[in-house]
């Protein structure tokens, strides 16, 4: 979106499209400090990969706060409203019926259903919204082809800067990753 520069497509000598450049780190602390430097270098399209969540990483990466709570709140309230409408439709329009001698317009029995449908919508929105914002499920990722990347599920930490970043340059990005302490820097093909 913010990419004003025309996107350059880089290709390897074998003709494959370049996805990005990855660098490996040995400890979460190295990863954290490297991420801070990548953030300060002004990169936008990049990500870090680690076997476990590293606390405070979103700050080190300069990620904005998620919009998911706002979305969940709106959807939850919408759900509660729909729950109310559903009961209005059923007990007033479709099947008006006196039950247990209770008043027709009683709000009391409507409350649990309204609440529950609100909770249902909230829970589903939080889960599915999280998936959507993380672009999950993801059936394919270029990094998965890299032998060294597989250790990210065990004891290695990786930063990958993607070629779609406006600041990406095969040589300069590689040099930058090297300067922040990255090891085993490799080009990643699509």
């Amino acid at each position: 979106m913010a990419n004003k520069k025309k996107q350059t497509v880089y290709r390897t000598t074998a003709g494959e499209t370049v996805y990005g450049v990855m660098a490996e780190f040995a400890t979460p602390a190295d990863l954290y400090h490297a991420a801070e430097k990548v953030r300060d270098a002004g990169y936008k399209a990049w990500d870090v990969y680690s076997p476990f969540p590293v606390h405070g990483m979103e700050e080190a990466m300069g990620l904005p706060h998620t919009k998911l709570p706002l979305l969940t709140g709106i959807v939850g309230l919408t759900g509660a409203g729909l729950g109310l409408l559903l009961q209005y439709f059923v007990t007033h329009l479709a099947y008006p019926m006196v039950v247990q001698g209770k008043p027709m317009f009683a709000w009391e029995p409507w409350t649990p259903v309204t609440f529950e449908i609100g909770v249902l919508f909230t829970a589903f929105c939080a889960l599915l919204g999280m998936f959507a914002f993380n672009r999950l499920p993801m059936w394919y990722h270029p990094l998965m082809k890299k032998e060294r990347f597989l250790r990210v599920s065990d004891d290695r930490f990786v930063i990958c800067i993607e070629s779609k970043d406006a600041k990406f340059d095969p040589q300069a990005t590689r040099a930058m990753l090297e300067s922040v302490g990255g090891k085993h820097i490799e080009l990643v093909e699509e």
Partner: protein, 434 residues
């Protein structure tokens, strides 16, 4: 297998390192100027509150004797104020035992405030004295609890069945037992924590945790029965099995609000910088939100079941409160105690800004007082809502001011945090990461 154990060993080794570093960093924040209050100014504030509270109480007594029938209203309003104070102190006791049980690291920073306020429970027994005097020597027309008036209950079948529980001697014994148990738990926890400030003995934390296990059981049962005796007993025909939980929800909510208020006041005075941070306020704000919802949930459940089954002796409670002006107070309670604070507390910014959160906390404390007023006051059928309103306000404000003054005095008389709590460094480094 060997690989797993090797990784594990490595892991624990690394943890040992990361523990030592923050501990050194933490100590530099715990300068005496940051963790002890300037006693002068805050003592003056607390003395002022207690002084005003005392005057208010004297005026209440004069007003109570001034007019025919005013005495019962005065003691009813005072009773709501007394339960407000007990609820805050009791909630502080419960919340610290819950935090001990969870071994909650973050809570080491705000816990001392809860310990200090809960240690006022023996003094709350003194606040109970006027209610006791009313029960013992009050004339039949001024007695707060109608079941204590023999001519009123004569021939009442329901009362005859409940007489084993509802007799004055047993009622006094029970009240004494409640205060005894609460004082024992609260003073033990407070003394151990203060002792740890000097000795640094980690086992005192383990001891506090062990006592909290059975302490919570004692707390849950005694607070529920206290609410039956002191609140539900106001209308002895009526009963609700959920009432104990209702009282618990309101009490813990008001306790968290008081802790937030005290800590916000201290941080406003430049204390506890980088010790009690927006991260801790954020967590306490989450608990305020949770207990606001919990209170509403329990309040609705209690109402809903009674509304559905529609049994006269149960519906009497709500029937009374849905008639006349009490109806407006009911609606005000739903909006002010639930809808508005719920919507406001949803926002992250509110929870992370101590001043805003303190404002919401003060509002919720007032609403908790209104809630107790709403339970106690309609029982006085001879006086409608708004009649002699000054007595109602004074009855609640008097004990509340004295109590909050005492609370501030107690909090500033000790270090503001448990200085050598083994989880303190964890609390100082606490972050929410969301």
């Amino acid at each position: 297998m060997s690989e797993i154990s090797a990784t594990h060993h490595h892991g624990s080794h690394a943890e040992g390192h990361s523990h030592a570093e923050p501990q050194i960093a933490a100590r530099s924040r715990l300068l005496p100027s940051a963790v002890t209050a300037d006693r002068g100014t805050l003592r003056t504030v607390s003395m002022g509150m207690m002084f005003v509270g005392a005057i208010v109480l004297v005026v209440l007594v004069i007003l109570g004797f001034s007019a025919e029938g005013a005495g019962r209203q005065a003691i009813a309003a005072y009773h709501a104020g007394f339960l407000f104070c007990v609820g805050v102190a009791l909630g502080c006791l419960g919340i610290q035992m819950i935090l001990h049980q969870f071994n909650a690291g973050w809570s080491a920073a705000p816990r001392r405030t809860a310990e200090g306020i809960a240690s006022l429970l023996p003094l709350c027994a003194l606040l109970f004295v006027p209610v006791l005097v009313n029960a013992l020597i009050g004339s039949d027309s001024t007695k707060l609890f109608k079941w204590m008036v023999p001519s009123y209950v004569a021939g009442d079948v329901l009362f005859e069945h409940k007489q084993g529980w509802l007799n004055v001697n047993f009622w006094i014994v029970r009240s004494a037992v409640y205060f005894g148990l609460w004082s024992m738990l609260a003073l033990k926890l407070y003394q151990w924590s203060r002792k740890q400030d000097l000795s640094g003995d980690r086992w005192l934390t383990a001891k506090a945790r062990r006592m909290s296990s059975y302490g919570l059981l004692i707390f849950a049962l005694s607070s529920a029965f206290a609410s039956f005796d002191w609140l539900m007993g106001l209308d002895f025909h009526w009963f609700s099995t959920m009432f104990g939980v209702y009282f618990f929800a309101g009490s813990v909510l008001s306790a968290i609000c008081t802790i937030v208020l005290v800590l916000a006041m201290l941080s406003n005075a430049g204390k506890l910088k980088s010790v009690v941070t927006p991260e801790h306020f954020h967590d306490m704000g989450k608990m305020m939100l949770a207990f606001t919802v919990f209170w509403a949930y329990i309040a609705f459940c209690q109402y809903f079941l009674i509304w559905y089954s529609n049994i006269p002796e149960e519906t009497a409670f709500y029937n009374l409160r849905q008639q006349g002006d009490w109806r407006y107070l009911s609606i005000f309670l739903v909006l002010g105690h639930f809808v508005v604070p719920f919507l406001v507390l949803l926002f992250r910014g509110v929870k992370r800004t101590p001043r805003l959160l303190a404002f919401v906390a003060a509002w919720l404390l007032i609403m908790h007082a209104v809630d107790l007023f709403y339970i106690v006051r309609p029982v006085i059928k001879e006086s409608k809502l708004g009649e002699r309103l000054i007595m109602d306000v004074f009855g609640i404000a008097g004990p509340a001011l004295v109590f909050l003054g005492l609370a501030i005095r107690r909090v500033v008389s000790a270090p503001l945090i448990p200085l050598k709590d083994p989880r303190l460094h964890e609390a100082l480094e606490h972050k929410n990461y969301v």
